[in-house]
Symmetry: C2
Subunit: 417 residues, 2 copies
């Protein structure tokens, strides 16, 4: 190469060679087997491909089916008519129409928090985490940023930026002892973790609260998978259980899953107006000129209204019943919990074949594999929703059992065929 | 602090202390003077605060006023009714409703490119740039990632992630000689630059094309400020002028400015389907489960249809006429160009007072200052739009002149009062 410089990547925090190198072959295999790249029209809760194959989606995160709630859609439409634009393009720190402020006030009341909205939870985290790293959300002291090993890629993706503003470290999943050790050694620590995991399970919120009280630990939770689906008025797992709802706890959650709309909410407590202004002005894309559009705002206002009624409680009850029904047929690690996600373990070799068999029977469940999950822990991910019928759940469990899933022992004899 | 470790930040690629430290005082001063934190209802192109102050926004990037076009709003509404959801929450690489594919096909035809959509240009760049850095969008060779010093923060923000996948460097604004020098020294170089600057001006697309032909230079443009506003069918500045429309040129552009909707378009040429799949699967938030919502898709389909008609040409003509009218009154660096942005220079001390005077007269123009612009180059940024009336432009120029703006010499005597 006539003296041209070759480049050796640092790969301290990320490694596309690994992610693409390993993951892409699995994706290709999924697509070759009809389990990725699927295009289908949605009609009354059933998806239909151009070839006419019909299936029920068991990997959709709209856990309460609010995404297709007529009030939510009409809320989007009425906001479009009222504001007359999807967006009035200028950073909101300068000039804004009242759309987003109305939503933030409504969500603030609903979740008893100071709420700042973003176009996605990923955008919220990419904007907030570096500001936390530099001490601008807090007491001015740069914290050690401690990322949970299993935290969602939208959190882990902020490592390089945070590492330029402070020190960062990665810790084993929910390793309370390690976190405490770091608290002893550093003036300030921020632990970054999923409040609700995309593969099932919740953060150890009470143990973390202990460290928050003892050491002033700041915890940054992404609670996207439990907002709306869990807790009084859908406040989510973290804000249902954390006794520390002040400036030491920051929770972000998408509005794109159980909440049923678009965008994200950052839930804060105890921060001064001056700090909220710093977020608006310096938290990455939160300062750019593209906020949640008015359709998303209107839909979210309508969904928030539903959250204030008995209808939400009823939908949460239906979801819980569906989760229990599923658990009565198949044995998984999270059986018995209220979490709407179950992973059925399969080997790397068998998971796609099993997924294909399930799909052909009329259900989509998503194969998960490295780098989505750790190596050697592949499986089919099932997401329960309030709107799935008992029959659909029974039929899904039957085909999963035939494909090799482990049946709940007490029901092994009477599994439907 | 009893042996606790203090942290010294690296600050190689970013520095919140500097950004917040310097910028926040200016923002506060803006807000104290009523030039930031403004909330106003939009009605027929005029903004009205709760206190009843009315003003015309001269810092809105909807250069053709398509944001409030009735067809665009109706397009959003009809898509909401047709698809029945804002989003069907699951990564599109697995299952998607046809909404986004229809939009990508339409934009692909409109702009003669392979189009991939994202929820914002910032999200598109945060996803794509690290994949380019690791050689996965290209021939597999890691390029030196060369960031233009003035590139938008949504591009510069990707430096830390890119630096973990390859080497990066920053070059002076449009420094062709330096870029060529880097091309001579490295096997492969990717230059990251605004196609159209948020402070006015275009990238040197022909000179860059020379380097693309000579060295295989890859250029990554953000052309957000010229899409729709410029070129045949609104294809933007870069795709109007670059003779290199193949895999060596990648252009992203927001749909949130002159295009009038929400979201963003990545315009690609010559990439294989396998590479497009890698984008869908590994380009950061492009792989998450929150795509452009169906309202944004429907609005964008409607805007694309308008782009195919004479109406677009007429709107572009009106915008050009307004720009010329403005230039006939006030002298600025970009006078005489077709660019819709003008910056009126003021000192750091006078810029806010001047902005306040203009606002009181019924016009909003935004004060820009460090870190938005380089130190010592503060000013009032004016954005022209097709829908502003001649009278509004004349009146704005008169009050700007009174506030100290430099008048176009030949018209100095007859400036309206």
């Amino acid at each position: 190469m006539t003296g041209k410089q070759a480049i050796t990547p640092a790969h301290r925090y990320r490694n596309n060679d690994k992610a693409v190198g390993v993951g892409n072959a699995f994706w290709d295999s999924c697509e070759d087997n009809g389990l990725a790249g699927i295009v289908a029209e949605l009609d009354n809760g059933v998806l239909r491909t151009a070839e006419g194959h019909e299936f029920v989606n068991f990997t959709c995160c709209s856990y309460l089916d609010l995404d297709s709630h007529p009030q939510v859609i009409e809320g989007a439409i009425s906001a479009l008519r009222r504001f007359g634009v999807l967006d009035h393009c200028i950073p909101r720190s300068r000039v804004q129409i009242p759309a987003l402020l109305e939503l933030e006030a409504s969500l603030g009341e609903l979740f008893s928090a100071d709420v700042v909205c973003a176009i996605s939870a990923g955008v919220a985290s990419a904007g907030l985490l570096p500001l936390i790293a530099s001490g601008h959300l807090g007491n001015g002291t740069r914290p050690l940023m401690l990322f949970d090993k299993n935290c969602h890629v939208s959190l882990a993706g902020a490592k390089p930026a945070c590492a330029d503003e402070t020190e960062i470290a990665t810790c084993d999943h929910h390793s309370i002892d390690f976190i405490e050790d770091m608290c002893k050694r550093h003036e300030r620590v921020c632990y970054v973790v999923d409040g609700s995991d995309s593969l099932g399970g919740y953060a150890p919120v009470l143990e973390l609260a202990g460290l928050q009280e003892k050491y002033g630990l700041l915890v940054y939770y992404d609670d996207s998978h439990s907002l709306s689906a869990y807790g009084n008025r859908g406040v989510g797992y973290i804000r249902s259980h954390s006794p520390v709802l002040d400036e030491r706890t920051i929770t972000v959650a998408t509005l794109n899953k159980a909440f049923g709309t678009s965008g994200a909410a950052i839930m804060l407590d105890g921060y001064q107006k001056a700090t909220l202004r710093v977020i608006e002005r310096f938290a990455g894309a939160l300062c750019y000129s593209q906020p949640m559009n008015t359709a998303a705002v209107g839909a979210s206002l309508a969904s928030a209204d539903i959250h204030r009624t008995e209808e939400l409680t009823a939908l949460q009850g239906k979801l819980r019943a569906n989760i229990q029904l599923f658990d009565s047929y198949l044995k998984t690690d999270h059986a018995g919990t209220e979490y709407p996600i179950r992973v059925i373990p399969f080997s790397d070799e068998s998971v796609i074949h099993a997924g294909r068999r399930v799909f052909e029977a009329g259900f989509y469940v998503s194969p998960v594999f490295f780098p989505i999950v750790a190596r050697g822990t592949a499986g089919l991910r099932v997401m329960l929703r309030a709107g799935q019928t008992s029959q659909q759940i029974r039929d899904l469990c039957a085909v999963l059992a035939k494909a090799g899933a482990c049946q709940a022992t007490e029901l092994a004899e009477e599994t439907p065929s």
